[in-house]
C-alpha cells in the first residue's frame, strides 16, 4: 500500500459503454491495489449498465498538460489555415474527397 497520509492511492477510471466506442474517463476512486481498484470501479461506475469494459490507471501515471501552458500548447495553430484540409480547393474531377 503506497501511503500518502495513510490512505489508499488514487486511480482514474475509464469506461467503454459499448463495442466500437472508446473508453471515456468516468471519474476516480481510492483502492489499495489495481485489482481492488477494478472491482471498486465496477461498483462505483458500472452498476447501472453503463459499460462493458473498464480501464484503471494510477492517477500518478497520467502525465497531463499544464493548464498554464495552454497558449503554447494549443493556440499555435491559430492563423495557420493551411493545416486544415478545408483550406484547399478541390481539384476538378475529384468526386469523393
Amino acid at each position: 500500500m503506497t501511503a500518502h497520509e495513510g490512505s489508499w492511492p488514487l486511480w482514474e477510471v475509464f469506461v467503454r459503454s459499448s463495442r466500437g466506442l472508446s473508453h471515456v474517463h468516468a471519474g476516480s476512486l481510492h483502492a489499495p491495489d489495481a485489482e481492488m481498484a477494478l472491482r471498486n470501479a465496477r461498483d462505483l461506475y458500472t452498476r447501472r449498465n453503463e459499460g462493458i469494459s473498464l480501464w484503471i490507471v494510477k492517477s500518478t501515471d497520467i502525465i497531463a498538460s499544464d493548464p498554464d501552458a495552454k497558449g503554447a500548447f494549443f493556440e499555435s495553430p491559430q492563423g495557420k489555415d493551411y493545416r486544415h484540409a478545408t483550406y484547399y480547393t478541390k481539384s476538378e474531377g475529384v468526386k469523393h474527397l
Binding site: W8, L29, H30, P32, M36, N40, R42, D43, N49
Partner: protein, 284 residues
C-alpha cells in the same frame, strides 16, 4: 412442478418468462408476485429458508453503509447487501404465493421463531475481518447452492438462482480478494482474520445439515450436505493462499432452520420490522 406452459402469459408482461435472465432485464420479484404458478408447500418452505438467509444477511451488511473503512468499500458492501435483498425478495415473493400472502407479510410480520435463517447470517458484523470471513463462508456456499439449483425441477427456483448466481459470484470474488489481503497483510490483519475464523467456525456446521424437507423436495431443491465437499475444498484453498488455516473449534448447537435463534435475531428484526408494524401498509 408439472410441464405447464407459462412461457408467455403467466408473468407480469407479455415478454416475460421464468427463464428470462438477460442482464438488466432479469426476472423481478414483481413478476413472481403475480405469476399463476404457485409453489407446493415443500418448495415454499424451502424458498423461505433461502429468502431468510439472504434477508438477514442483507440487513446485517447494510449496517456497513456509512460505516465502511473507506467510501469505496462502503459502497461495495452496500451493493452486496442490495443484491442479497433482491434474492430475498424473489424467494419470499415466491413462497408467499403458496399461502396467499405477500413478500412483506413474510419479511415484516413474522415472529422470530418463524424465521428459518442460519445462525451464520445473524452473527454480528464485528470488525471488517469478521464481516469478510462471514462473507467468505456464505458466498462460497451460496455460489455452490445456486449453481446446483440451476438444475432445479422448479422453474422459478431455477430462474431466481440463475440471476442470483452471477451476483454471488462477485460477492465470492470480493470476499476472496479481501481474505488474501488481510491474511497476507499485516500481523494485525492476520490476527483479526484468525480470530474471526475461530469465532464464526462454530456456525459452519448448521449450513450443511440436511432436514426432512430436503427429501420431500426431490429434484426441486438441493440437500446441503451434498455441497460440503466442494465447499471444504474451495474454502480451504482460499485460506491456504491467504496463509490462514481452517479452525478446529467445535460446532455450536445452531438450530436456526427450526426457528431457534441466537439473541441477535430479535434485535435485527426489531429494527427491520418496526416501521412496517407501526404503520401497516405504509408506502412511499
Amino acid at each position: 412442478m408439472s410441464a405447464v406452459d407459462h412461457s408467455l402469459d403467466s408473468f407480469g408482461d407479455a415478454t416475460a418468462s421464468a427463464t428470462r435472465v438477460t442482464p438488466g432485464n432479469a426476472l423481478r420479484p414483481e413478476d413472481i408476485a403475480i405469476q399463476q404458478e404457485k409453489p407446493n408447500d415443500a418448495v415454499a418452505r424451502y424458498a423461505v429458508r433461502l429468502g431468510d438467509d439472504a434477508l438477514i444477511l442483507a440487513q446485517r451488511l447494510s449496517h456497513w453503509i456509512s460505516r465502511g473503512p473507506e467510501l469505496e468499500e462502503d459502497i461495495a458492501l452496500g451493493n452486496i447487501a442490495l443484491d442479497q435483498l433482491g434474492h430475498a425478495r424473489s424467494f419470499l415473493s415466491y413462497a408467499a404465493l403458496a399461502w396467499d400472502k405477500t413478500e412483506d407479510d413474510l419479511a415484516y410480520f413474522r415472529e422470530e421463531e418463524e424465521f428459518r435463517s442460519l445462525h451464520m447470517v445473524e452473527q454480528p458484523n464485528g470488525d471488517f475481518a469478521a464481516t469478510i470471513v462471514r462473507q467468505l463462508v456464505i458466498s462460497i456456499y451460496q455460489h455452490l447452492l445456486y449453481t446446483a439449483l440451476l438444475e432445479s425441477s422448479d422453474e422459478t427456483i431455477a430462474a431466481i438462482s440463475a440471476k442470483a448466481v452471477k451476483e454471488v459470484d462477485y460477492h465470492r470474488d470480493h470476499a476472496i480478494m479481501w481474505t488474501l489481503r488481510l491474511g497476507l497483510g499485516t500481523e494485525e490483519s492476520a490476527r483479526r482474520m484468525r480470530d474471526a475464523l475461530d469465532n464464526l467456525w462454530p456456525y459452519v456446521g448448521e449450513i450443511f445439515e440436511d432436514e426432512a424437507l430436503h427429501a420431500e423436495l426431490g429434484d426441486a431443491g438441493v440437500a446441503p450436505s451434498t455441497l460440503r465437499a466442494a465447499w471444504d475444498e474451495e474454502f480451504g484453498a482460499v485460506l491456504a493462499d491467504a496463509e490462514l488455516s481452517v479452525p478446529t473449534v467445535p460446532y455450536a448447537m445452531a438450530r436456526g432452520r427450526r426457528g431457534e435463534h441466537s439473541e441477535h435475531l430479535g434485535f435485527i428484526l426489531a429494527e427491520m420490522q418496526v416501521l412496517a408494524r407501526k404503520h401497516p401498509g405504509a408506502t412511499w
